[in-house]
Amino acid sequence: MIRHTAIVVNVLLLLYNISSAQGRKDSTIVLQSVTITQSQLRTFVVEPNYLLLDSSTLSLSRTGTLADLFRKQGYGHIRSYGPGGLTAPAFRGSGSSHTSVLWNGINIGSPLNGQNDMSLIPMSIFQTASLQSGGNSSLSGSGAIGGYINLDNTVNFQRGISASSSIAMGSFGTRFIDASVTAGSERIAGSVHAVSSISDNNYKYLNSDKIPATLQRREHSKFEMHSLLSQVQARLTHRDAISIRSWIQNSTYLIPNPTSFTYPGEADESNEIGRYMFEWKHNASSMTIHTSTALLTQRLLYNDRAKFEVSNNTFNSFVQNLEVNGQINPTIQMIGGAHYNLETSRVDQFGTDNPKRNRIAFFYGAKFEHSWRYNFAFTLREELVDGNTTPIAPSVSGLFRIDSSFHLSAKATRNYRLPTLNDLYWLGGGTKGNPDLKPEVGWSEEISATYRRGNFDSRITAFNSIIDDWIIWNPSGSYSYSPQNIKKVWSRGIEFQGTYHRSFGRASLHTIARYSMSVSTNKRIYSNGNPNEIDKQLILTPRDEFSLLGELTFNGFALRVDGSYTGRQFNDTDNSPYNIVPAYFITNAWASKNFELHRFSVVLMFEVGNIFNINYVARPGYPNPGSNFKIALTLNFNNYKHG
């Protein structure tokens, strides 16, 4: 039964993989690894806008971070302070704190500022990743108004061991090394993965604020990150399975000033992260019980030597989840349970108070698969924060198949985001948190048409969403800043994705095209806002984005080229013609060759970023590098009987 469950999980993931490289042959060894304790929550949305980042894609991004992956692949929009700087995802015109990042189902976002910094997430320690855009993620709780990203760890339940190590060197003093070992049998499997990356990050950029425009080198932008991820998964009985994981990480980032400053800055930030989780899954005949317990700790030390400013922040989250998933009959599946989260913090600017927040949520969902032609699901979630209710978050989703190759789906959901602890408790520097803030509330609806035939797969989605009581820090009174529920934002638009795959003997071609249009405007401005912002596109939110990707594989050789376009963005909130970030189109390429020898394989990869040396910024004052290079060598070994 457990094996069956694992297989079902994988099948579901594959079904949702609308961008998967179906039929592709990876140029690297890909073991069929699974997780045997995965939560079923994410399956209670019919036909989600789900994008599985397959092992091939992840292997190409093995030497980078989640920020690098998004920057190069054009998945949604990212708000970035440049390489090594804070990088946060933003889907469908939402804000940078409206996308959750989940590690094996546990939200790892900072309760202090609600941000998920993708530059602090090394990709090589994860075996699968996926992203889901849109608000059809209400079961994920606070913060997933725009969508969420899943990062999962799996292992290979085969008798034997495998080992892998990569070393990479790149432009701007970038060095990377990692090593992993996996050992397993049919009942227990575990892995240890260590990663270390360092970059001087001193790339050249064209400073057009100078006369004449001057090629300058980025200074005070070095970073380093060291991570260790360990996991064990075990089948205790034919009904019970457990997983234990730990992810510890240490990083130091120098924080450069904006390029409009003449001095490079003297601030740095160190992060010490510890994330630990335990999962247990029990399979009864028609029911599964899944629990997960997690402890998330983070210590963040900010030090600006120029301004003699030091901020020492610690925050911890204790998470306890319980879900019961039952198959009522062959066509009806239900899920229910509770999420508990205790957030504690100790922040210099919170004063002597060490605020904590008790959050408990109850959820319920049902999925109806009455026929091949119709599917329907609904969910409901209610969270109590320190005993106070938050907006009820329901969702409904349905699917209607016209024929075997064409179907329609629709979703509607209500979502919310709690104020962060900084929003509530920050005090100092002329700013003050606001304990009276209300949660942001989002409503979203979407309808999709999907066409799959042969090697062609496409989906077009029209979406509409409202985010009300959006929290903004604004001048409050004459002399201080304070967060307030300032505005209502209306986002609407379309998304398209098409994939095409074709094999020619030993060669194969895989292509992906994506386009999104997000018109995201202020619908209402409440007190203390600027009414000139009404009906204006949100700051630094492009209306149009598209990306193209092509990959050719032949006999262990792979060539992959992608280009992504980001439309112009307004750098102010009332869309003046004076503050516009120009559009840009960035092209990257990878080439890799896989050499196999008995139980060993060697993968040699060469990567060129920003091939055409485009000078561009995603955020003014924080330029991105021109053409850059990276070469990586990966050695894999396994002695699996079926490897």
């Binding site: 409009s260 400053f261 930030e269 520097g429 004459s478």
Partner: protein
């Protein structure tokens, strides 16, 4: 706190210090500055490099925005703090970018960019055809200096240590008065520099964190100080050690009067009427005013509105109030007559904080 949040709050921190912005007027008395119109300094959002200069044309009663970028094809930089028109040139002090942009006020084209030797500049005063002065906080915000500029070569030729956070300056004959506003720390002095010897010749002690200076029609020097807010360890306000803003009156080399504001909260942007008989300044809820003979702090605002900066047009006495609803969208200016009655409202750039009169 993660990086974005830190930048976010640093911006607030910086803005809180920058809040006591004074609108600099033009010291070219006699040229009727402000007759043609005036520039508006829009400091922009911290770190966004989107500061700008607008120009209000008095003949057409219209504002043209972003005049620097329009003719020079590049951004002005980060956080323009002030601008002064001197000898038909505009000296735009761009604090975040650590530079002074020099433009021709006839066509707004760039003449020079003064960067070397300048770190965190605040205000400019022209002394002669060949000499000017720039107050400079220093990179750390506390190692304040006044830079001596050669206006022929547009270079820094000398750096004079003055105190913490030198802010607005005032030239009277051969003496340059510099208000040490504290920068990222605290100060309570006004230093006097002899512009010929380029040395500090006298130091006055005034209220905490002085930020702007004016001279009235009697020759008395008035200094606006923002006061000092001290926080306890838990970041609550330490009421005992904190001080309210004040106005100091200096006559004959001594402080003869100090009018102390009743409540904590910045006080600044001190300016004067064309006849120098009335002083205007910002405090708490709006514009306050006093006459030269005042002996008590005014009890209520002259105009109640949360202006970010003010300036008085030397040519007609109109008061220009700068409104910055936030630092991510366009602000506006409101022109008030001498009775405080609005004569018009005009959209300008992001974060308008003051004016320079042409």
């Amino acid at each position: 706190m993660a990086k974005l949040s830190k930048v976010f709050f640093l911006r607030y921190l910086a803005i809180s210090f920058l809040f006591l912005v004074a609108c600099n007027d033009d010291d070219n008395i006699g040229n009727k500055p402000g007759t043609e119109g005036f520039y508006v300094v829009n400091e922009g959002g911290f770190g966004n490099g989107n500061s700008s200069i607008s120009f209000f044309d008095k003949q057409t009663n219209q504002v043209v925005n972003d005049v620097f970028k329009f003719v020079n094809y590049r951004s002005l930089g980060d956080q323009s703090q002030s601008m002064t028109v001197f000898n038909d040139k505009g000296y735009i002090v761009v604090q975040g970018s650590g530079k002074v942009e020099v433009i021709n006020t006839t066509d707004n084209k760039s003449i020079a960019t003064i960067e070397d030797g300048i770190e965190s500049p605040r205000y400019f005063v022209g002394a002669s055809n060949s000499k000017g002065f720039v107050s400079d906080w220093g990179i750390d915000g506390v190692s304040g200096t006044v830079k001596v500029l050669d206006l022929n070569t547009n270079t820094v030729v000398k750096s004079i240590p003055v105190g913490k956070g030198p802010n607005r300056m005032m030239l009277n004959d051969d003496l340059l008065y510099v208000a040490n506003g504290g920068g990222y720390d605290y100060d309570n002095t006004v230093v006097v520099i002899n512009i010929n010897s380029e040395d500090v010749v006298f130091t006055y002690t005034v209220g905490d964190n002085p930020n702007s200076i004016q001279m009235d029609n009697t020759g008395a020097i008035w200094v606006a100080s923002s006061g000092r807010t001290v926080y306890n360890e838990d970041y609550s306000v330490n009421e005992e050690e904190s001080t309210t803003g004040s106005l100091s009156k200096i006559v004959g080399g001594a402080e003869v009067l100090r009018l102390t504001a009743p409540e904590l909260g910045g006080l600044g942007s001190l300016d004067r009427s064309p006849d120098s008989k009335t002083l205007y300044f910002l405090y708490l809820d709006g514009i306050y005013t006093i006459t030269m003979s005042a002996t008590q702090f005014p009890t209520k605002a002259f105009v109640t509105k949360p202006y970010y900066g003010i300036a008085v047009n030397p040519s007609d006495g109109m008061i220009i109030g700068c409104l910055a609803p936030n630092f991510s969208s366009a602000g506006s200016i409101e022109i008030l007559d001498e009775n405080g009655v609005s004569q018009g409202n005009y959209t300008v750039g992001i974060g308008p904080n003051g004016c320079a009169f042409k």
